[in-house]
């Protein structure tokens, strides 16, 4: 509570100048009770979204998908196909909106850029020695610059979890600041890798740290560790962006990533956004899903709503 107990629009830019100031601030944030947070998330998950509300939610969710492939086996052909799908998720139904972005490794950015050129689909690239972040800072920054130069307008960086867990907040902060600078005009999403942060208190602190350092989005996960996005983690991050805007006036986006596979899951997240931070965040500019298989389930459910018949996976492309 003490952290936000200053009057609205406080200037928090000084905090990054000292380890002590950062620590005092982050450890002064209100605690998160695990059981209470998980219950609230579960409770929001019991909302029943039907008919018109469901149709609206599905289209919104499609527009929020960061259609992702982050495999060692990714090839130009594979990512081109993915980008094509991002533009026209359902070739049979042109009323179906395009997704929010395509998310790939830096080496794949040029091939995706060719396909997306001229469209409104964003091109996101992971960077900063994704997924571990275990590389020298200069390497990470070069990684970032290369991705931006190749055409990425969004960068998904990973924070240094080792430094964070060791309490070296300044180091984490400085890396984010430096990466943000390397991004130029590209938007910076900061991946907290919440599955490695272990507690909701840490998720809240890391969220604030990333926002204080200039992140445009905070993102849950790389998808490369066993625990990815969960509703309660996302809830805690949504509370953080809400409180951050109240404190500073700056709005930051949220991206849960990994493990979100069904329309039902996606709608639960949208309900959570709606009831935690409100309609200002119900927009692809402020909320994204990092996902791959989710899109086809959204398309199947969408078809069910328009045709009244349950579809099967054979009727949707598998890119």
């Amino acid at each position: 509570m003490t952290a936000t107990a200053t009057s609205a629009r406080s200037d928090l830019s000084e905090l990054g100048r000292s380890e002590t100031a950062l620590r005092t601030f982050l450890h002064g944030l209100p605690g998160v009770d695990q059981v209470g947070a998980e219950q609230r998330a579960a409770q929001l998950g019991t909302r029943s979204i039907k008919t018109t509300a469901k149709a609206q939610a599905i289209d919104l969710a499609i527009r929020m998908v960061d259609l992702t492939t982050l495999e060692g086996a990714d090839t130009p052909g594979k990512v081109r196909a993915l980008a094509a799908k991002a533009l026209r998720p359902d070739p049979a139904d042109l009323s179906c909106p395009h997704v929010g972005a395509v998310c790939v490794y830096p080496a794949m950015v040029p091939y995706v850029a060719e396909v997306l050129r001229g469209s409104k689909v964003h091109l996101a690239s992971v960077a900063t020695a994704f997924p571990s972040g275990q590389a020298p800072l200069e390497v990470k920054l070069a990684d970032t610059r290369a991705a931006v130069e190749a055409g990425a307008d969004e960068i998904d960086m990973v924070i240094n979890r080792g430094a964070f867990l060791a309490g070296r907040y300044q180091e984490v902060y400085d890396e984010i600041v430096a990466t943000k600078a390397a991004c130029g005009d590209a938007h910076l999403k900061v991946i907290l890798e919440t599955g490695e942060l272990a507690t909701y208190d840490n998720v809240r602190r890391a969220s604030w740290l990333a926002m204080l350092a200039g992140g445009d989005f905070i993102k849950t996960s790389t998808g490369k560790v066993p625990v990815a996005a969960t509703p309660p983690v996302t809830l805690v991050m949504l509370e953080a962006v809400r409180d951050f805007r109240a404190a500073t006036g700056r709005q930051v986006g949220v991206k849960p990533a990994g493990g979100i596979r069904t329309t039902k899951d996606a709608i639960k997240y949208l309900v959570m956004v709606n009831e935690t931070v409100g309609p200002d965040w119900l927009d692809p500019d402020w909320f994204r899903f990092g996902a791959s298989s989710l899109l086809n389930d959204l398309l199947m459910q969408r078809t069910k709503l328009t045709t009244g018949v349950y579809a099967g996976p054979d009727y949707f492309t598998l890119d």
Partner: protein
């Protein structure tokens, strides 16, 4: 904007009869004087059914049936067999839980998500829990030969109709007692469906008898010389009258009465969860909860922040059709209760407290009250002292832990209390000093069949739930 479309739970699962008789000696029977009353859906004012009103002759028949069953069947029955009947009832409740939940919401006005996710699971769990005690009574810590008390007269309120029935009937039957239960006149329907469940379970006739009616029926029942035990949940006023009426008898008495619980929020509280706890504490079940956290005591240094967050959260509450799966706040149970809530709220305004409700459209028909908070309340205000039993929160501030304890205890009631702080030693210090039967720390309104529930001071005496809850139904 993301508007949720209506998501109503289907009513078709409930098979309402136009009229209901009394359940005496295993059968539904007409009342001897033919009296009746109507039970209405408080969300629509639609009449749901015509219910028999038990007169003194009917109560007498029920008590005699219970006595016979106690002496001939249930009292002598081995505990392991009583246990099997209780397990059977628990299972049938699980099997028919959707039907019971919908009926509860129809008759009571509570949101289906609460009857479905809170009331019904707890009802089944309560029968399961006490079923297990039926053949283990000598190990319950009340001596090697605990004996049943006999015939129990049980009078329950309208706020958790089926759950209060479970709290009364399960331990009574486990202990070898038989019962005559009177549900509240505004919410008799699930008790009558429970009677059908007793039939379906082949429970011996007379073990459970349900007599419907209003206050007079209840009075006749608790004053009947043939009952050995009286258990009542309801207002402190009626509890007082019952305590007087059993004076000079050997009737064993337990009372679960009103409350005016303090929910205390410190400056180091996990604030988002505290706000959920405040909301759950006062708006759960429209605030028709005896242990509701109806007084928010918030540390002055964070009062503005907490209130801002609370108001923001209250704006998300969805009031309306109790059968809509997205409804958070249902209907007020009756016109009379609505009048009481309005009267006390008006007194709050008149006494100078500041009233706030989120924008909230109330349906045209039925009984409704918007979630409301009063700030600038002092201990001297009526809304800080009297139980409102509605979705109305009084907000007071404090400066130190000692002041919080003093204010929290400054009430004739003592049912529950809440503490929100991240400091463990402060929780335990506070918990020691709060004069309340249930203390929720960093949580609120949690219930479990294993956990004893009941009050200090004018909130009543005796405990329901857990091993402690058996004591009320055993001669120890």
């Amino acid at each position: 904007m993301f508007e949720y479309a209506p998501a109503p739970e289907s009513r078709s699962v409930v098979d309402l009869k136009p009229t209901y008789g009394l359940f005496i000696d295993g059968k539904f029977v007409d009342p001897s004087d033919g009296g009746s009353f109507k039970s209405v859906n408080p969300a629509t004012e639609e009449v749901l059914a015509e219910i028999a009103e038990a007169g003194s002759g009917d109560v007498d028949r029920a008590v005699r049936a219970a006595r016979r069953a106690y002496e001939k069947v249930w009292g002598p029955m081995p505990g392991r067999d009583r246990a099997k009947y209780l397990y059977r009832i628990a299972r049938i409740i699980q099997e028919r839980s959707r039907e019971l939940a919908v009926l509860e919401s129809l008759d009571n006005g509570k949101p289906i998500k609460e009857s479905r996710d809170v009331d019904l699971p707890l009802v089944a769990a309560h029968f399961f829990y006490y079923a297990g005690w039926a053949d283990k009574l000598p190990y319950a810590g009340f001596g090697p030969n605990p004996a049943p008390v006999g015939v129990a007269a049980q009078v329950i309120p309208w706020n958790f109709p089926l759950l209060m029935l479970a709290w009364k009937i399960a331990p009574a039957l486990a202990g070898g007692n038989t019962v005559v239960l009177k549900p509240a006149e505004t919410t008799p329907l699930t008790a009558l469906l429970f009677a059908e469940i007793c039939q379906q379970a082949d429970l011996p006739p007379g073990v459970v008898n349900i007599v419907t009616g209003a206050g007079e029926t209840g009075r006749t029942l608790v004053e009947h010389p043939g009952v050995d035990k009286v258990a009542f949940t309801g207002s402190t006023e009626v509890g007082r009258a019952i305590a007087r009426s059993v004076a000079g008898t050997r009737k064993k008495l337990t009372l679960e009465l009103g409350g005016k619980a303090a929910n205390i929020v410190f400056d180091d509280a996990p604030v988002d969860q505290a706000v959920e706890g405040i909301v759950n504490g006062i708006f759960f079940n429209q605030g028709h909860v005896c242990c509701a956290g109806s007084r928010l005591l918030v540390q002055e240094s964070v009062a503005d922040r907490v209130l801002e967050a609370l108001k923001r959260r209250m704006a998300q509450l969805r009031l309306g059709d109790p059968l809509d799966k997205n409804t958070d706040i249902g209907a007020i149970n009756s016109a009379a209760q609505l009048a009481r809530i309005k009267e006390l709220s008006d007194a709050g305004s008149a006494e100078g407290a500041e009233r706030w409700s989120p924008p909230c459209e109330l349906p045209d028909r039925g009984f409704w009250f918007a979630p409301t908070i009063f700030t600038g309340v002092t201990q001297a205000h009526r809304i800080a002292r009297e139980e409102i039993f509605g979705p109305v929160l009084s907000v007071l501030t404090f400066r130190t832990p000692a002041e919080a304890v003093e204010k929290a205890n400054n009430t004739p009631y003592g049912l529950s209390a809440g503490i929100w702080t991240d400091k463990g030693s402060r929780i335990l210090w506070m918990a020691d000093r709060l004069r309340a039967g249930v203390v929720w720390a960093n949580t609120f309104n949690k219930f479990d069949p294993t956990s004893p529930f009941g009050g200090y001071k004018e909130s009543g005496y005796g405990r329901e739930g857990g091993r402690h809850g058996l004591e009320a139904y055993l001669n120890v």
